[in-house]
Symmetry: C2
DNA sequence: CCTCATTGTTGCAATGTTTCGAAACAATGT
DNA sequence: ACATTGTTTCGAAACATTGCAACAATGAGG
């Protein structure tokens, strides 16, 4: 029972860890509306294709996205739509907390 | 505009990073129903008070929890309820993806 | 007022993890 | 064969986590 609980939190943490990088959030956002191949994503995000590939494989490892080979390309698509709502909720919470922390004055449109 | 976007993803990532540790998820779950002082949390989670304090300060830094001094104790309480829904969604997504990854056979009650 | 016990936080050093870019490698289609 | 696209490997740098010890803050009792 204790082990089950620990495992539960480990699984959750793995998923959050996959989301815990600005570039991966950017890639997820790009994948919101359509599938993209790695080279498109790398170009759009302004990073090396090897870096993009690694970020994508992390997202895939926790089931947030899926890939499919199409000829010489590998197309990625969003698997878990709820992650975008989570991201929005996260953003709202972060903005709110930041406003409170900084006294409500600046930043955060 | 580009900067704004980057900042947005950085803020989101900071929040997910705070959630990306099993112990912090455990602490959040403990805080679900009532306030706890640091020593209670440390005892319940089986960790050193200094470690608990550091985890809690990370959660507080992104606005997920808040603290209040009561005498010699410092009580923490959950600030962002939506984080628990997020955690549940995360767990479901992780469980689903794990099932798919492992072929549906084992684990995950 | 002063000392003491209790509770939290911070500094530090050791250990482990993550990220990055370049280069090597693999897979596919022409 | 060759060009294109993705993935893996490697080392270096940055970052995160831990436990202990030192420190700070609060309240109780003499």
């Amino acid at each position: 029972m204790e082990d089950t609980l620990r495992r539960k939190y480990e699984l959750r943490a793995e998923l959050f860890k996959a989301l815990a990088h600005p570039m991966r959030l950017h890639l997820l956002e790009l994948l919101r509306d359509r599938t993209w191949c790695v080279c498109e994503l790398a170009a759009a995000a302004g990073i090396d294709k090897s870096v993009a590939s690694k970020h994508l494989s992390q997202l895939k490892a926790v089931g947030l996205i899926a890939d499919e080979r199409r000829g010489t390309l590998v197309e990625y698509r969003l698997e878990a739509p709820c992650v975008l709502e989570m991201a929005a909720c996260a953003e709202a919470a972060a903005a709110r907390s930041l406003r409170e922390r900084l006294g409500g004055a600046e930043a955060l449109a």
